[in-house]
């Protein structure tokens, strides 16, 4: 069974003045159970609207979506019972202590006090919250509030985790720990849907990615699928054995879309056929021998920027 199925979902927001904003325009995708699926897109792409529809906060204007077979509109309560959600903005019980935040979150998801206490003890250690247990959340930094918000989802074993830019504001060490934990949860069979603007995070974590822009799907698939879409873009790293005086000029003549020369090293991005470039690099290497040579496919960031550029 698919953990998430979204079919031709549209969402139109209407202002009081009657103006319409098409936040989602016929989005469709499926996420099999146990997959980590990333939603990427610039601000206003429709990612958070999609998260709000899947988490039953709002309904689609048309189309339908299901969570593990439960329709998010007609079976909203059952759908909510199968997921935990971290929304884009920090959400915490500011007047309550860190301990209360964890416990009440579990209670509100139907967990009993004994089970909640047991689960909280493990998380307090993992997320380094021991010293803060009796502190009210309003006294904590935004980063720590975010840490508590993310820690809360591990109080439960819901089969689906939805994260809307969940690692925003976290320090790098904690972010690493959360990403590792998410990977471990996916291995156990939990499905994870995440939206992020940190492309390296999606590249590292996601099995499949969908790129949204202006409420429409720009591209979707594995990283390899997306690389294939990105019009034969590739990155070349070179290190020359000896410095050549006119190296930048000669490399510029290859017409890369990007060129960075640093001493004997150069980093270039090309669009086109690799084979024709190799011949021209061989010509350069006769005068300035190449010590190291590496060709890589585009990073997710390059794919993303290329697709955004095309959509303008």
């Amino acid at each position: 069974m698919n953990a998430i199925e979204v079919a031709d979902v549209h969402k139109i927001y209407r202002s009081k003045a009657g103006a319409e904003a098409h936040a989602l325009n016929g989005v469709s995708f499926k996420v099999p159970e146990g997959m980590i699926y990333g939603l990427l897109g610039p601000n206003g792409a429709g990612k958070s609207t999609l998260v709000r529809i899947l988490s039953t906060i709002t309904s689609p204007t048309s189309g339908h979506a299901t969570i593990l077979g439960c329709d998010v509109v007609r079976q909203a309560l059952a759908a909510r019972g199968k997921m935990v959600v971290v929304l884009q903005h920090t959400a915490s019980e500011n007047l309550l202590t860190v301990r209360d935040n964890l416990m009440i979150y579990a209670y509100l998801h139907g967990v009993g006090p004994a089970a909640a206490r047991k689960r909280a003890s493990a998380l307090i250690e993992e997320f380094e919250l021991g010293a803060l247990l009796r502190t009210t959340v309003q006294e904590l930094s935004e980063g720590t509030k975010r840490r508590i918000q993310v820690a809360k989802i591990f109080m439960l074993d819901s089969p689906l985790i939805i994260l809307d830019e969940a690692t925003t504001g976290m320090d790098p060490l904690m972010k690493r720990r959360v990403l590792d934990r998410l990977r471990a949860e996916a291995k156990k069979g939990r499905t994870i849907l995440l939206t992020t603007q940190v492309l390296s995070e999606a590249e590292e974590l996601c099995d499949e990615i969908m790129i949204l822009n202006k409420g429409r799907t720009m591209a979707s698939g594995t990283l390899q699928d997306l690389r294939a879409l990105s019009t034969r873009m590739f990155r070349v790293s070179l290190t020359f054995a000896d410095g050549a005086t006119d190296l930048p000029r000669r490399l510029e003549a290859l017409q890369p879309t990007e060129l960075h020369v640093n001493g004997r090293s150069a980093e270039m991005v090309f669009q086109g056929e690799e084979a024709s470039l190799l011949g021209r690099l061989a010509d350069i290497s006769r005068d300035a021998p190449i010590a190291q040579f590496e060709v890589r496919g585009p990073t997710l960031e390059e794919i993303f920027l290329s697709l955004m550029e095309k959509s303008r």
Binding site: R52, S55, T56, I57, T58, S59, L77, R80, G81, M83, V84, V85, L87, H89, T90, A91, S92, E93, N94, L95, L96, D100, I104, Y107, L108, H109, G110, V111, G112, P113, T136
Partner: protein, 253 residues
Amino acid sequence: MNAIAAVFYRDYRQRITNAAFLLWDLMIPLAYLLLFGLGFDRLLGGAIAVEGQQVGYTAFLLAGILAMVTFSVALNTSWSFFMDKDSGIFYELLTFPITRQQLLIGKIVFNVLVAVLGSALAIAVAVFAIGIEIRWELLPLTVLIIALTTGGWFFLFAIAGIRMTRMDSFNTLTSAAYILLMFLSTMFYPLDGLPSWFQTAAMFNPMTWQVDLLRFGLLGTGTPSMLIAEAIAFAVFSAVCLAFAVRALNRVA
């Protein structure tokens, strides 16, 4: 844990963080009873007629004081939507496996206890300090009326608390509602002798229905047919407000 019990526990934990606010909910009706009630009792200098019965003004006012307790507690509970919005937890709550009805009902349950406690204090002061005689055999009915009507008022204010984004606008609206509902009812005075338009407006005011029911529970005043009609009217009012509050939660985004 049961969904309503979990929301109840959450509200309890939040409200006990502000003891002064909680105390205010409990004490303000006593201040009204002791200052306003006794002052007017002396000013009016004797009993007033209610449905053929002669009662002192403080005794007459007691039902209004209890209505005021329920109204204030319900209003203060609905402010919590703004706190939830400020902390960002409001939208997260909507993703939890609880129905919108359970969320609203759970939110009011702890505050019903506050309203019952505040009312018990007011009744105790009225009976033991001021000497008002109440119908003890009807006390369970009075408690039931207090509990159910606190819910009704909360569902009304929840509609505004959920839909409105500015707390100052919410305060303006609820202050206006507070004045209109209280003074255009039988809370402070009997309707006899007032202009007919006033009497008609008061008859359609849920505050009148609530005060009349509470006055029956405390003093045994009122006619059965009218009281039954008012009880049904308040139940319908509460159910409609709950339905609109649920609708507001469903359309929040």
